[in-house]
Symmetry: C2
Subunit: 340 residues, 2 copies
């Protein structure tokens, strides 16, 4: 699983899907290859991949089921977004030296169509920020909250996985909009960060206190928007505290992604009826055309000191298999990124 | 439980909540009284109650839990909507002889505030129709489908409990709007009625065939609107066949109302994410101000022969306890009404 000392950065390296996991991924899920990339064709780029994004959604791409993207095929390079610099371009839109974002895959060098890649500005923010706050996690927070949750000033917004890459940004944007914001996170350290670093009004430590009691205490006017990153029991508990016409944003269900049995459904879903509420899913890629607008607005908030991004960088492409499991055990703090 | 022969129509009779049921209601849930109604005060009406509506929502009113209305108190006359004629009025808005609709309760004579009552026109439709098609079931179908489901011509609408009072109207309105309409119902007779009487394009018999297979066959373009009256496994199966941006209307969950354990949640709710779909609850009373507009439009469809209402009248106030359980065993065909 680890690269030998003789393998240098200049040897192109790929992490491929070896076997579909049941439950958590393990060493046998992956295999590493050092294949020479193909020759460039018209419209192609060669990109030196410098940082790779590690996302909960990756777990879903490993299962052979219908989803919003086809599953990663056995033997295929693991799908991932990444950032780096163009080494060679046969696309009129890019030149060698451009900093770019795209679906690079988990590999040190990408060769393939320029389609879907776009230039990024390393002066606005360092490269890894384009995988986090300006990348899929920040965009997920931004569009999930604003387009699906539609919070209004004065409303109460509750966010699970509040210390995480998505949750921490959701809460900060909700604060900027004038909402009361309550987080749910696991452990005293994470809860402290949620309140002290990210400025939430309160945070419920689900490992050490009752979420139901915490919601009663911190959401006296109930919940107008619940941004759900976790599913399972926490979702079910939040459903019992919805305000009239509440919006439940289904962003993910990290507690269920490695389930080998059917996941538990939210048995309190009939509270949607009582509260005339809605529960709605979304896929951030649907908003891709609006990403530049969101990045521009978030860059402004970043400059004004109203927004902080939390990143957790794991050093070394060969540590990707370890990194993806960190997500599901809650061991990462902030957006998880592998430095190639 | 039954009235003695000496009790005549002229003796005011009330059916009161005696004990909160666990699971299905039974004889001990109710007790019958023959109390003289109070004297009229200013603003009150005395109404001879002629027909009473029996609705699935009644089961929820018996449990001592937070809902959109407070639970019926022990000893209180069972809550119900009803129609009848005004016998005596101390409200300027009504005169003796007026046909009215209101929350009469399960009793032969209502005395109390005129608030919430409104006049109905017996020339437009017979009195029981104001409890069915022009009453809460028809209004539930109309507003649930149009306001929450928002179907467009050419879309596929799936309705569970399709032979029922709500489902049959939902499907007929969806057909009027130009949708492809597929019902789900229990048994060959009900399925035949759904297609032949109510004009659905197809009906899946969940007692004798696979709902998943039926949906694949009859919804080649997947489901744009699923109007859920039943919850449970059928809801879960429908979630796996949603089209992009589908709307799931949570109208009720008759399969779960008598559950003594926590109801099963829809474990496939993450399909909302894959399909960018929403699941939304509603309470028909929220649309009360728009009821006259809906009734006028439905009266037009009725006259044009585009809409049929199916009613199931049970004769005798004392048969209310039997009638309410018919709802949950699927023994009624169409809107269930007790004739006083």
């Amino acid at each position: 699983m680890t690269l030998s000392k003789t393998q240098t950065q200049t040897t192109p390296t790929q992490i491929r899907l070896n076997a579909r996991p049941k439950g958590m991924t393990n060493a046998s899920t992956w295999h590493i290859t050092q294949d020479a990339p193909p020759a460039l064709e018209d419209g192609d780029l060669r990109v030196s991949v410098e940082y790779i994004s590690v996302d909960p959604a990756m777990r879903g791409w490993l299962d052979d089921v219908r989803s919003y993207l086809p599953p990663v095929a056995l033997g295929e390079v693991m799908r991932a977004s990444g950032v780096g610099h163009v080494l060679e371009s046969r696309s009129a839109a890019f030149a060698a030296g451009d900093a770019v974002f795209g679906m690079t895959g988990v590999q040190s060098e990408y060769v393939g169509p320029a389609k879907g890649f776009f230039k990024i500005d390393p002066r606005l923010a360092p490269l890894p920020t384009y995988l986090g706050g300006f990348g899929s996690t920040g965009m997920t927070a931004y569009f999930g909250l604003l387009e699906v949750g539609q919070p209004k000033a004065g409303e109460t917004v509750v966010v699970s996985a509040a210390a995480g890459a998505v949750g921490s940004v959701v809460g900060q944007i909700a604060k900027i909009l004038g909402c009361r914001v309550v987080g749910i996170a696991g452990g005293a350290d994470k809860c402290r960060a949620v309140v002290d670093e990210f400025g939430f009004d309160a945070c419920i430590d689900y490992q050490n206190e009752s979420v139901a009691e915490g919601l009663k205490k911190h959401c006296p006017d109930r919940i107008d928007v619940y941004f759900d990153n976790v599913g399972g029991k926490i979702l079910d508990t939040c459903l019992t505290r919805l305000a009239l016409r509440a919006r439940v944003v289904i962003c993910g269900a990290i507690s269920q992604y490695n389930a080998t049995e059917r996941p538990a459904g939210p048995s309190n879903y009939l509270q949607l009826l009582v509260s005339r509420a809605r529960m709605e899913g979304f896929v951030v890629l649907d908003y891709a055309k609006q990403f530049p607008v969101a990045i521009a607005q978030m860059a402004g908030w970043l400059t004004d000191g109203k927004l902080k991004f939390s990143e957790h960088v794991v050093d070394g492409l060969d540590r990707f298999p370890e990194a993806i499991n960190m997500l599901f055990s809650g061991r990462n703090t902030g957006k998880l990124i592998v430095k190639v």
